[in-house]
């Protein structure tokens, strides 16, 4: 399988704290690579370096064999890198439909036009309608984002990221704060997404990780202490010691 995202020797310090310590990992096409680790392990920090919001101190990031280490967030998105935010980050004054429309509009381009009418961009709105019709947010198109429930916001994050047709998607805890049923629905969706994009899944819901992941990396204090299949990770003594034994503390 071809490698979509390749990370080599990534390092990031915050003052005295090493938040990312020599991280090396690959995500291949068609796979879900899960990244697990306790709170504060540096998972979000890693995602932010991959997406370009944070600049790594050392190491390289390649997307489809192109070195993107020095590129901006927007440039990485243009090359097919998508993401969702752990703490949802949406356009709160706009409706669900407008949010999806904005993602499509951004992806389509032509946004320096000051003399067209955005309402009349049929390709945008027809696709937005279709995306929402087939989603769990159907019926909520006209709702303002500020009025959505937490679960609905998580859904919208996912829809917007997928509307950009990414080659690789970085999902930062898509199930955090969801109820059991919502989580189950999300697991079903991610299963389906696998066919469309490679996924780096940051998650602390073990059930979800073991159900979905093709490969798992375990991050502790910024370091990857183990990497392998679900079964390998389950039986890895270092991982068990690090925290599978203390399952409650795992997050």
């Amino acid at each position: 399988m071809s490698v979509v995202l390749s990370v080599r020797g990534l390092r990031k310090r915050f003052g005295g704290l090493v938040a990312t310590d020599d991280v090396t990992l690959d995500v291949a096409a068609g796979e879900i690579h899960a990244l697990i680790g306790p709170n504060g392990a540096g998972k979000s920090t890693l995602v932010n370096q991959l997406s370009g919001e944070l600049v790594a101190d050392a190491g390289t990031i390649h997307l489809m064999e192109e070195d993107i280490t020095g590129l901006s967030v927007a440039e990485r998105v243009a090359r097919g890198l998508g993401r969702t935010f752990q703490i949802t980050s949406l356009l709160d004054d706009m409706t669900v439909m407008q949010n999806v429309g904005m993602a499509l509009q951004a992806h389509e381009g032509g946004n320096f036009r000051i003399w067209d009418a955005v309402q009349k961009r049929r390709s945008v709105w027809e696709r937005a309608k279709a995306i929402l019709r087939d989603s769990l947010l159907t019926g909520r198109e006209a709702a303002l984002v500020a009025d959505l429930s937490h679960g609905e916001k998580k859904q919208l994050e996912l829809l917007m990221a997928m509307a950009m047709a990414p080659r690789i998607m970085l999902l930062d805890e898509p199930m955090a704060g969801l109820g059991h049923l919502e989580s189950q629905a999300m697991i079903g969706q991610l299963e389906k997404l696998k066919a469309q994009t490679a996924i780096l899944l940051i998650e602390h819901d073990m059930e979800a990780v073991f159900a979905l992941a093709d490969r798992v990396s375990v991050l502790v204090y910024g370091r990857i202490i183990a990497q392998g299949s679900v079964d390998e990770i389950r039986s890895n003594p270092a991982v068990r010691e690090a925290y599978l034994g203390a399952e409650d503390e795992l997050c």
Binding site: S51, V77, F85, S89, I114
Partner: protein, 323 residues
């Protein structure tokens, strides 16, 4: 939609009849007040484009207003002197040349200021735009050839073919026509693809970046458009006052434009015009009562902002029933 259209056309009709009405009422001063309201309305609406629609709080828009005015002044000066500006550009008093020139030059200056200032945000952006405007203010004060602190007297308003621009009513109608086109153009830009992206950037830059939208160039474009609109207003104001002076560039002018925007309604299309109207009327009424009128104006501003939650435009929408 149709209701808005009827209201708009009604308002336009009243405005178009204004010279006749003020004449009948024997209040010619009111016509010049109306002319100034329209001009300041355009300047405030231009500021509101970045401030309200784009979320960029510029405290330096007097720079573009003044530069627009000075372009008219320079061109007039060199025409009467029969000399070349910078040894290159001949003067002119044709409005069809001076207005586009003013728009172009203010756009260029906005591009320059924006390129530097937009690398920052928040309070820093406010301070940097203010600093640039002050630099430009002192630069013009130091230009002794062009009157320094006294500015340039423009003895005749710019000419338009077939029209007598010295006639107050004709001048008003020209300003009204330009304001109408300006308003329709602004509405179009706000509802364009670009306008939508700008709205997105105002709400959440981080989200827009994740959608692949690099904020800087979009904000710069908005800043340039805003500078151009403000320069247009400045050019008309110089024609109206027959005068281009550092007063137009003073930081208090930036503040006044901001007050108009806040008074009228931040991020609304029509609010800045209402705000300009309210500001000019209050200024002329209050200043005839007391020299401490800015204090009274400040209190009124406080009441309006706290009382209406969204300026006069919010009040009007509420009185008019639904939004």
């Amino acid at each position: 939609m149709t209701r808005h259209r009827i209201l708009g056309l009604g308002l336009l009709l009243v405005l178009a009849l204004m010279p006749v009405l003020t004449d009948l009422a024997g209040q010619p001063a009111f016509l010049s007040l109306m002319t100034r309201i329209l001009i300041y309305g355009m300047a405030a609406a231009s500021l509101n484009f970045v401030l309200g629609f784009g979320g960029m709080v510029s405290f330096g828009h007097a720079a573009f207003f003044g530069i627009g005015g000075y372009v008219v002044g320079f061109l007039f000066f060199h025409q009467t002197e029969g000399t070349l500006f910078l040894g290159l550009i001949p003067g002119t008093s044709q409005l069809l040349i001076t207005l586009p020139a003013a728009v172009l030059v203010s756009g260029l200056v906005a591009a320059l200021i924006g390129t530097l200032a937009l690398r920052t945000g928040g309070v820093q952006f406010i301070m940097i735009t203010l600093a640039f405007a002050q630099m430009i203010f002192f630069f013009f004060v130091s230009l002794k050839t062009y009157g320094g602190e006294d500015g340039i007297i423009i003895r005749r308003a710019n000419e338009l073919p077939f029209l007598n621009m010295r006639d107050k009513a004709t001048f008003y109608w020209v300003v009204l026509a330009i304001t109408t086109l300006f308003f329709l153009g602004l509405r179009r830009v706000v509802n364009s693809s670009f306008g939508a992206v700008l709205d997105g950037l105002r709400q959440n830059e981080r989200r827009m970046a994740a959608l692949g939208v690099p904020a800087f160039r979009y904000k710069l474009y908005a800043f340039v458009l805003s500078g151009m609109g403000t320069g247009l207003a400045g050019a008309l104001m110089a024609n109206f006052l027959r005068f281009a002076s550092p007063d137009m560039l003073h930081w208090t002018k930036s503040g006044e434009l901001m007050v108009m925007v806040i008074l009228g309604g931040v991020g609304t299309l029509f609010g800045p015009f209402l705000g300009a109207g309210a500001f000019m009327v209050l200024e002329s009424v209050l200043s005839s009562w007391s020299e401490h009128w800015p204090l009274a104006l400040g209190l009124i501003l406080l009441v309006v902002v706290l009382g209406t939650k969204g300026g006069l435009m919010a009040l009007v929408s509420r009185l008019g029933g639904r939004k």
